[in-house]
Every structure is written in C-alpha cells, then in structure tokens.
C-alpha cells in the first residue's frame, strides 16, 4: 500500500507563523544597530548644546582642565587623550605579544589536561572584576614598582598599563585560540607532511591563515583597554598631566567621566562637557574598528 501523499499546500497559519518568526529574527538583528545608534544619539544630545560654545582647538590640544574654575573655566582634554592613548598603547605593547604567544601555545603546543587547565584559568583571569584589578594595582603592583624600578613615589602610567595588559591578555588568548582552532586540521597535516616543524607550521601557515581572527582578538583587547575605567581610575594617579616618562601619573578620559559626573549639576556646561568626552571615546573606538576593518580588507585583497 502506498503511504498517503504529502500535502503540498500549507495552511495559512503555518505560513503566517513562518513570516512572524522571520520578522522576529530580523528584529533581533536590527536591534543591535538600533541600540548603538540610540546610545550615540543620547550621548550626543546631552553634550550638543555646549558644542558651539567651545574653542575646539583648545579643547583637544590643551592640557588645562579646570571645569569648576570660577573666573576662567577651561575644558582642555589634551592630556587625557594622550593619557588614554599612552596607557592603552603601552598595555598593548605587553599584551599583544604575550597574548598571541599564549594563544599559540594553548592551541598548538600543549595538549590534554594542561590545555584544559590553562583554558579554565585564563577564563577565570577574564572574570576578575576590574575593581579587584585596581586594588591589586594600588596595593601590590605599586609597591613592587616602587621597590624595584626607579619610579618616584606615587601611582603612574606604567602601573596602570600593566594592569590593562593583564586584563586584555585573557581576551586576546581566548579569542586568538578560537581563531587558531578554526584553521582546518588539513592545513596542519599538509604542512607537517611537507617536513615543516611545529613552529614552522605555526608561523608559515597557521598565523597567516588565522590572520583575521587574530586581528579581531587584538582589537577586542584594545577595546577592553580603552574602555576600562575603574582600574585606571585607581591606578594611574589621576593627575591631569602629559606624561614624559613611564613613571608619570596620568588621567584617562574614562576615569574623568567616572570621577566627575556624579558631582555635576544636570544640564550644566561641566555635565555636558563630560558627555562630549564620552563622544570622543566613542570616536576613538570607532576609528580603531574602522582601521581594523580596512586592515583586514587590505590583507584580503592581497
């Protein structure tokens, strides 16, 4: 006996159901864009009324930040921009080689139980709250720096950069490791069959093959370092100062917002200025992401 024929026509309910699901999924996708834009818009609108009143050249380049001065209010964020960039840059100088090296080690050179243990520990490192990092920076790291390095008394750029490096390394490692894991095993086998050693396989085949993923890992690390607030607020010294050495205290954009927003009157110029600083942070991360995107595309075209 033949099985009953499959019905070709579908009920109106199932058709509508499918359409509804399609719309829900679409909404989920679009919501990310909506959130980013509305946050940007909110920050912009809070800061916007102050924009025409400012001397922008002075704002961006001057290190004079006197938002509460009675006679001569000056909103120069130059020192903070340099502070943010220098502490991030220095942190990446430590974190990128270390993080990528660790990713290569975890993914290619260690096996079995050691690998599992390392991955768990590294993930735990990523889960340490930033306030705890700040605390370590204040009490442990600063003490070590004062004892072993020729640093003047006080908190400094170097201390905060080390903290930021330690905070971004786990991100770089876990995403970098994923990127390396995504390289097909057939590449490894083909390279090894040609007589390549493990290290030759890594730097001639795996690193180029995982390039985009590794770049993404580094950028997420950079993003983490730029956006970090609490640890740098606690460990940089929080002095508005253009650093001239590794051991100068600095202040970052993020820490300024965190420290001062609570003390300003809503709608006052100082309050609006802090939102404009938020906008600058937005722009910095945007530029970093854009550069990364261009870099990846350039690499691809090659």
């Amino acid at each position: 006996m033949n099985p009953p024929p499959v019905r070709q026509a579908r009920s109106a309910l199932s058709l509508w159901g499918e359409r509804a699901i399609e719309w829900i999924i679409r909404l989920c996708g679009i919501s990310a864009v909506i959130f980013v834009f509305s946050i940007f818009l909110f920050v912009f609108l809070e800061g916007a009324p102050l924009i025409p009143d400012l001397n922008w050249i002075q704002v961006i380049f001057s290190p004079e930040w006197y938002p509460t001065s009675r006679s001569n209010v000056r909103y120069g964020v130059g020192a903070m921009i340099i502070g943010t960039l220098s502490v991030t840059g220095l942190a990446m100088l430590f974190a990128v080689p270390f993080g990528l090296g660790a990713a290569v080690f975890v993914s290619e050179f260690c096996g079995g139980r050691l690998k599992e243990t390392l991955k768990v520990v590294i993930e735990m490192l990523a889960a340490i709250p930033s306030i705890v990092w700040g605390f370590i920076g204040l009490s442990v790291m600063n003490h070590l720096i004062q004892t072993w390095l020729p640093a003047p008394v006080g908190l400094n750029l170097f201390n905060a950069a080390l903290l930021l490096a330690l905070m971004s390394v786990p991100i770089i490692v876990s995403i970098g490791e994923d990127a390396l894991k995504a390289v097909p095993d057939s590449y490894r086998e083909a390279a090894l069959a040609l007589g390549a050693t493990r290290w030759q396989t890594v730097y001639r085949v795996l690193l180029p093959a995982a390039r985009n993923g590794l770049l993404a890992a580094v950028l997420l690390g950079v993003g983490r370092a730029i956006g970090e607030t609490m640890a740098v607020l606690m460990a940089t010294g929080h002095a508005v100062n253009i650093p001239t050495s590794l051991f100068d205290p600095i202040r970052t954009l993020t820490a300024t917002i965190a420290a001062e927003l609570g003390e300003t009157a809503v709608g006052s110029p100082h309050y609006r200025m802090l939102f404009l600083i938020g906008l600058m942070l937005f722009s910095i991360t945007f530029v970093v992401n854009l550069l990364a995107d261009l870099a990846v595309r350039g690499v691809r075209r090659q």
């Binding site: 086998e189 083909a190 390279a191 069959a193 040609l194 007589g195 390549a196 050693t197 030759q200 085949v205």
Partner: protein, 254 residues
Amino acid sequence: MVSPAPKIAVENLRLSYGHKEVLHGISFTVAPREILGVIGPAQSGKTSLLRCINRTVEFTPGAVMTGTVRVDGEDVMRVPDVYGLRRKIGMVAPLPVGLPLTIYDNVAFAPRCAGVTDPAELDARVERCLRQAALWEEVKDRLDTLGTKLSGGQQQRLTIARALSHDPEILCLDEFSIAIDPVTTMRIEDVLKELRAHVTILLVTNLTQQARRLADRTMFLWNGNIVEIGPTEEIFSDHPKDRRTFEYVNGIFG
C-alpha cells in the same frame, strides 16, 4: 641475483583507529626506483598505509600502529629527525589541500622549511615543479594569487608540484588524478615515468588501468589485507594467483 636493499620495507604492519583495525598485519617491500601500484576498493586501507609511511597517521587521535615500516632500513617510528623523514617523502592527498598561501609560497614552502633561502634557487625550483605538475602554463602570470583560489583540478596539481618541491626520494600519490582531466593526467603520467629514474613511487589509484600503465608491480589491497602482490603483467593477466584479483581488475568484483 642479489636484489637491492629495499627502499621501503613494511613488516607485519597493523593500524587501528580506536577499536577498529584497518590494516591487519601486512608485509611487503618496495625496491628503489620502482613504481608500486596499490589498488583496492574503498576502505581497504590504502590511504592509511601511506600515512603510516610518512608518519602523518600519528596526527589522528586514537591511531595505534604496530609492526615496522622501514625507509632506507630505518624504522620510521625511531628516526631521530621525523621532519627529515617527511621531507624524503612527497605526499599527494586525494583531496587537494592548498595551503592558504600564494601559489608561489605553496610550492616554495617545503624548500624554505628545509632552509633554502636563495631567491634564485627558489624561483627555479618553483618553476620546475609547476612544470612537472603540468600547471606552469596556467599559473605563471599569477604566482602571487592565493593557491586556494585555483580550481579543484589545479589545486590537485599544485599539491603534486608541492610534493616534488623538496626533491623527495619517495613519492606517495594517493588518487592524484581524481580531479584532473585525462589529457593532463597523461602529461603527469609521462612526468612520473621520467621521475622513475631516481624516485621510488607508491601509486594508490582507483583507476586500475593507471596502475597497469605505470606500475612495475601492483599490490591488491582489500579490507586491510594484501590479497596479492606481483608483477603488474601478472596481476592484470588472465591468470593472477588469486581469483579475487582477476575479478576486481576486470570489474566483476562482487
């Protein structure tokens, strides 16, 4: 007559992946500068056998190999320098794996790993190997595009060029002509005949006629056992030693 020392000597080779044994203790030898054809249906252990010879089988988790495989009299499991061993052997896999590098870098990969840095020598090698793999004319103007962008058949020939790039003494070809048109296949077969002057070739093939054209001796592998190994004329004659050989070669294997 004293036969020369075998280039490859396999003795009682057993290989299992987990609980599944795929080679059940096979023994054979390959003489220097001989082409040994290996034929047999799917799942008979042909590819696994090649992977035992250059020890790439050890990358498969759970693979356990017993018995010995000797290359030039040296047990491959005990060689001091496994990279040197692998460089002695050129391997062409049935599914082409173009490394994610340019065409040039694909071919120059093994020589570079072996320490060749002179650009002129690398250039010469790349051209020679690509010519031998009958690919040079098609790619000579775009050596700096990605090897993975080539078509399937071109990638297959790229892997052949790569396998020749480090002057192997042994060439293991696993279904090299699977994605290559008959005309190009014949061109590569001609190259193999030339290479016979100084290279030992293991030719795994599903095209029994290819073994017949090229091989000095042919081995019929079935279900992880050697059914028969002998001179190619004998295997393909009307009266091979084993009836199953006759049936397989003539397409009436049931």
